[in-house]
């Protein structure tokens, strides 16, 4: 994201020739055999595998060990939308297409949406609250918001949180094709010549920890989560509402007790669809008022694609880069200004800028909105 490099390319999946959408932000060069043994692979769908790889890195980086009271008071809350969709796709093929009358005994625990959260809990001895949130494109932001609230309320000491997604299989992409909002060439958020969204896959995992607890053990703290808000449009199953998004952004600012002028960067939902981009820019303009022209807002989906239930988690990485390294990830593929998206969208090249506070937007199908506010230390 720092280099503005695009991870979107030709899909390499079974029956791709029967798809009209053949691009995606696919994880390439990944060999499950290098990471997981045969027994583990029988239980870990691709979305669980991505989760466990990211969780291992995050927990190691946090330096936190889960034992005794800390283990009892710590848990996992993750976002995903499709869960074990690859497992479903493969096994429906087996019984319908290939006419098999028997599937592997662990298909249910492998495909269930909570399997990734469960395996993180089991692998790291997390014995507190553990669950999965499914709010389509806002799943990860809702999950991280729950982690934040559980800690702030005193119900948990630490929460492993974030999300993952792996919908890039024949059935997954075929379903999305039906909506006619997918691009055949590139994801160009906020650009007048945008042609739709592009799907991605992967995981983003973080360790949220009660502030004083982290400070007392001398943890290297990447950022402080200071605000969260969720709203519902209560309007349409696919068309976003400007009002619902504006209320979510304002709610996060109020929860964080900051004014719009404090926010230097927004990681946009920025799907690259006409419906989202115009509505989101209008919502930010409304919420930020005269400060709307000062804030940088970029959509990193232009590089990693839309990870649906995992997208907010991967996008939080851009927020951490802004807060820690003073580098704002760009919106790449930006070619033509759109008068209805006239904000500073950080086109095409990363920018150096010191920001103290950031927002991360997620606005889901179903009108479920979730916005997080973070500050640097």
């Amino acid at each position: 994201m720092r280099e503005g490099r695009c991870g979107i390319g030709e899909l390499e999946i079974r029956d791709v020739e029967r798809l009209s959408i053949r691009i995606g932000g696919q994880v390439k060069g990944y060999d499950p055999d290098q990471r997981f043994n045969r027994q583990q692979q029988a239980l870990y769908d691709r979305f669980t595998q991505f989760t466990l790889i990211a969780a291992e890195e995050a927990i190691a980086q946090s330096g936190l060990e889960f034992s005794g009271r800390v283990a009892a008071e710590s848990g996992v809350v993750l976002g995903t939308s499709g869960g074990g969709l690859n497992t479903q796709d493969e096994n429906y093929r087996a019984v319908y297409e290939e006419g098999k009358n028997r599937v592997h005994p662990f298909i249910v625990p492998k495909l269930m949406n909570n399997s990734a959260a469960s395996h993180v809990s089991m692998n790291y001895n997390l014995k507190g609250p553990s669950f999965t949130v499914a709010t389509a494109c806002a799943s990860s932001n809702h999950a991280m918001g729950q982690a934040f609230w559980l800690i702030r309320s005193g119900a948990a000491t630490a929460m492993v949180t974030g999300g993952s997604e792996s919908m890039l299989c024949f059935g997954g992409v075929k379903a999305w094709e039906g909506l006619r909002v997918m691009s055949k060439d590139a994801c160009r958020p906020f650009s007048a010549n945008r042609s739709g969204m592009v799907q991605g896959e992967g995981a983003g995992i973080f360790v949220f920890e009660e502030f004083e607890h982290a400070k007392a053990r001398g943890a290297s703290i990447l950022a402080e989560v200071v605000g969260f808000s969720m709203t519902s449009d209560a309007a349409d199953i696919v068309m976003p509402s400007q009002h619902g998004a504006t209320r979510a952004i304002l709610g996060a600012l109020i929860d964080a007790r900051i004014g719009a002028e404090t926010v230097g960067y927004i990681n946009a939902h920025g799907t690259g669809t006409a419906a989202n981009d115009k509505t989101e820019c209008a919502a930010v303009s409304k919420a930020f008022g005269r400060h709307a022209d000062e804030v940088m807002i970029s959509s990193t989906k232009s590089m990693h694609g839309h990870l649906i239930g995992g997208t907010g988690a991967v996008e939080l990485l851009a927020c951490l880069m802004a807060l820690n390294d003073g580098i704002i990830a760009p919106t790449i593929g930006y070619e033509e200004p759109d008068p209805e998206c006239s904000l500073d969208v950080v086109p095409n090249e990363a920018r150096e800028a010191q920001v103290s506070h950031v927002l991360s937007n997620a606005f889901a199908f179903g009108g479920q909105n979730a916005v997080l506010a973070l500050k640097s230390l």
Binding site: R180, A274, A275
Partner: protein, 87 residues
């Protein structure tokens, strides 16, 4: 190309919750009460009915090769696609 017009009108009428006889050719789908989801469903039905691929992207309907400005435009576009299919 008998029947294409009638079938397209039936499909649009279903989305508009109208009788086929109440669908006038010069009206836009929007004017008939077909919203963006109804439009995508209508295009799906057209593809299934005639076994054709309709070039339509909801992000840039105005740039699509498939003219949806009125019922008669849709009928003409479908007739063209069906004819191409037969070639």
């Amino acid at each position: 190309m008998s029947g294409v017009k009638e079938r397209v009108i039936e499909i649009i009428a279903e989305q508009a919750v109208l009788e086929p006889s109440d669908v006038s050719l010069d009206l836009s789908l929007e004017a008939l009460g077909v919203d963006s989801m109804g439009l995508v469903e209508a295009i799906f039905s057209i593809e299934e009915c005639f076994d054709i691929q309709v070039p339509f992207n909801a992000n840039e309907p105005e740039k699509s090769d498939f003219d949806i400005s009125s019922v008669s435009a849709v009928v003409a576009a479908v007739e063209k696609l069906v004819a191409e299919q037969a070639d």
